[in-house]
């Protein structure tokens, strides 16, 4: 009869998988066992799993620390195996599976697979990293009150790029520690592709805010873009780095995004004074190249602005 024995860690992650065609399998620390464990809390001849012609049976061989089944608290001397049972002994665990054990359905490739492969292309990966470094350098250049020489530009660009590279490297390291494939380059490729999309969404946001008047509430919807991109980044990082159900991945990515943005939002709220005597307005201006919208007339501006008076009067009444 066939039985599959999986050695698993305490997080139920698979370490080794064995398939036996014999009637009896012995497990213990001594070298004549079929499965040899290094766990010091396991006896030299700890247990055996035997086929009785009808069932597979777990037998404890008077071990010092005993055997436990699934989450049971009682030591077990003899146990009839059901497929999927987990036997705990010493600090080790094994899972026993019979050949007719049901398996989950085949996962189709996600539609992101194509995107991930494309980004993973060495040319595109290098382009994304270089583009990111260039933008990082440009941001430094723009924020510097004086002129910037090429060395300063490069040092800053490389510095910021390395700093941002720690995120995909960290994810790769964690997935490696969790016995998954590290896939460092894929993580780098996806992360930098999305970092660049975030830069672009910033530019897009500025263009929209610059061109549209405050009559268009769309400007506030656009601030959702970076949140969506962050969610996508984390989702893809987890998709590449860890095997988990789609639902779980979505929940984790949503939670991290919520903590990142929600936390920032709460921090901002807590810092906001009860009353501000200064106006809060959108001061985005861009060079003439980015002006796409037609200008309004003065009369239109005056009539739009006039609507504010009723609003502030109302809020003055409310706050009295």
């Amino acid at each position: 009869m066939e039985i599959i024995i999986e050695e698993i860690n305490r997080g139920k992650k698979l370490l080794h998988r064995h398939k036996f065609l014999t009637q009896k399998i012995t497990i213990g620390r001594s070298y004549h066992n079929d499965i040899i464990l290094a766990d010091p809390h396991v006896c030299p001849e700890h247990l055996s799993i035997e086929y009785t012609g009808e069932h597979w049976v777990v037998k404890d061989h008077n071990s010092i620390n005993g055997c436990y089944i699934n989450s049971g608290k009682q030591k077990v001397v003899r146990h009839i195996v059901k497929s999927g049972d987990i036997i705990r002994f010493g600090k080790s665990q094994i899972r026993l599976i019979l050949p007719d054990h049901p398996i989950s359905e085949t996962l189709a490739f996600s539609s992101f697979e194509g995107f991930i492969d494309l980004m993973r292309n060495p040319l595109i990966l290098s382009f994304n990293i270089l583009f990111f470094a260039f933008i990082a350098g440009m941001m430094f250049y723009l924020n510097q009150p004086s002129e910037v020489n090429p060395t300063q530009f490069i040092v800053k660009a490389v510095g910021v790029t390395l700093m941002f590279a720690t995120w995909p490297l960290l994810i790769a390291m964690i997935s490696h520690l969790n016995k998954h494939e590290a896939r460092i380059f894929t993580q780098l490729a996806i992360s930098f592709a999305l970092f660049n999309l975030m830069w672009l969404s910033d530019v897009f946001e500025s263009i929209v805010e610059f061109n549209l008047s405050s009559n268009w509430p769309i400007a506030s919807i656009i601030t959702l873009l970076p949140i969506a991109l962050t969610f996508a980044l984390i989702w893809l990082n987890f998709y590449i780095g860890f095997q988990m159900s789609e639902r779980r991945r979505t929940i984790i990515a949503l939670s991290i995004t919520a903590v990142l943005f929600g936390g920032g939002y709460i921090l901002q709220l807590s810092k906001q004074p009860e009353f501000s005597s200064r106006p809060d307005y959108d001061a985005t201006i861009m060079t003439p190249t980015f002006k796409f919208a037609a200008s309004s007339s003065v009369d239109k501006f005056i009539s739009d602005s006039s609507k504010l008076f009723a609003k502030v009067e109302k809020s003055a009444q409310k706050q009295k």
């Binding site: 723009l142 106006p279 201006i285 008076f309 502030v312 003055a316």
Partner: protein
């Protein structure tokens, strides 16, 4: 030489005469002079002091509004009392105010008719000797001789320019001519023998108005005065000539009235500056005091021209944006006085102008004085990659009509050369 001695003798005698006169005036008028005290109810101690003088036989006393403003704004926190020349203290009631001219009428109880100050029927002549009375720094009543120097032209609301020391605590004290008639009321100082007085005709107007209608709500009175004053001010500005001037390669307008004064500054001397910066700033010289944390009726207009010297357009605009990001109000106001600002922004081009701008308009409403607002406008030119014009103004305490008429005229007055 002989002439010189005569002149010296003459001036000595005139000095002696002035002193004597001051002494006489002081004695004669002392019973009608008061120290006005704002007393904090909780601590029972005075929180500010000023001077006042009686103007009717039945105990009506004139002083500055800013002396009694604490009581006018927070009647539950404070009360008013007077201290007369004999050291008697008794409570006062607030009867009427004029915030524009910083005047107030308070009243004491009287048992019999009392001596009082008469208000002069006509203004003094320039150079005439006048005497300011008051209680500086709580040192007791004093008299300060000085000279009448006409009305201050840089002031929208009339103020007498008085050459003589007006010190803190003398606020609200009378200024009299040799006949002991009130010609003005001490109101402010700019140090070094320059003082400002409210002309007595303003007091007369307030007094006549009070005789007609003695039971006015103070807030309502202030509200009416602010409304009338802003209307007069803004319509004067709109009717006055707006002079076109060039600032760099932009055309701007400044309003040609004496009470709005302009100043200029640039960084043309700084060779290493990345951009040329030229600023013109025009402002109304005076504002109206409502309380120690609420001022209104101020006007500020600012133009800033920038030209990039060696910056790329992108970097120049990045710098430029920082210049328009932090506009704020120019008048002090607290949460109890005003709402928060709300703003509108759009890209605008006036039909008569060749300049495209990003324009931002913000306003906040007054809580105690309905239909009055503070407004703020800032616009940034957006049609030249290497040049920029920022046009900015703030108006405090204006009606919607005044604000919008001013904004429209302002927006239509800027262009490129």
């Amino acid at each position: 030489m002989k002439g010189f001695i005569t002149l010296l003798l003459f001036s000595l005698s005139s000095f002696a005469y002035a002193t004597e006169q001051a002494e006489q005036i002081f004695h004669q008028l002392a019973p009608s002079l008061y120290q006005i005290r704002l007393i904090d109810n909780a601590s029972g101690e005075k929180s500010s002091i000023g001077s006042g003088f009686q103007i009717t036989a039945d105990g009506l006393i004139a002083t500055n509004y800013h002396v009694v403003s604490g009581f006018a704004q927070h009647p539950n926190k404070y009360h008013l009392e007077y201290l007369d020349h004999l050291g008697n203290k008794a409570p006062l009631t607030l009867e009427s105010v004029d915030v524009i001219n910083d005047l107030a009428l308070v009243k004491r109880q009287t048992k019999s008719t009392m001596p009082y100050f008469h208000i002069a029927s006509h203004a003094p002549i320039r150079g005439e000797e006048i005497y300011s009375l008051g209680n500086p720094h709580d040192l007791g009543m004093i008299v300060v001789p000085g000279t009448y120097n006409g009305l201050k032209i840089e002031s929208f609301n009339d103020r007498i320019h008085f050459t003589g020391s007006v010190n803190s605590g003398m606020s609200g004290g009378p200024v009299v001519n040799k006949k002991a008639e009130v010609v003005g009321i001490n109101v402010a100082t700019s140090g070094n023998q320059i003082g400002f007085l409210v002309p007595s005709d303003k007091l007369l107007a307030l007094f006549n108005n009070y005789k007609k209608n003695s039971s006015q709500n103070i807030d309502q009175q202030i509200s009416t005065q602010l409304m009338a004053n802003q209307k007069k001010l803004i319509s004067t500005l709109l009717k006055s000539p707006w002079q076109k001037k060039t600032l760099g390669s932009a055309i701007i307008s400044t309003i040609d009235v004496p009470f709005i004064r302009c100043w200029g500054e640039s960084n043309a001397d700084k060779a290493d500056a990345v951009a040329l910066l030229v600023v013109t700033n025009c402002a109304l010289d005076d504002n109206t005091y409502i309380s120690s944390d609420f001022f209104t009726n101020s006007i500020d207009i600012e133009f800033k021209y920038m030209r990039s010297k060696k910056l790329s357009d992108l970097k120049f605009y990045h710098l430029y944006q920082q210049h328009i990001s932090n506009a704020g109000p120019n008048n002090r106001a607290s949460k109890n006085d005003v709402s928060e600002y709300q703003c509108h922004h759009d890209l605008v081009k006036a039909s008569n102008s060749n300049m495209n701008t990003k324009s931002i308009f913000c306003t906040r409403a007054y809580k105690k004085f309905p239909k009055l607002f503070d407004v703020l406008f800032i616009s940034a030119s957006i049609d030249k990659g290497d040049q920029a014009l920022i046009s900015h103004f703030t108006l405090a305490g204006v009606s919607q009509n005044s604000a919008m008429a001013f904004t429209k005229k302002f927006m239509e007055s800027i262009a490129w050369k």
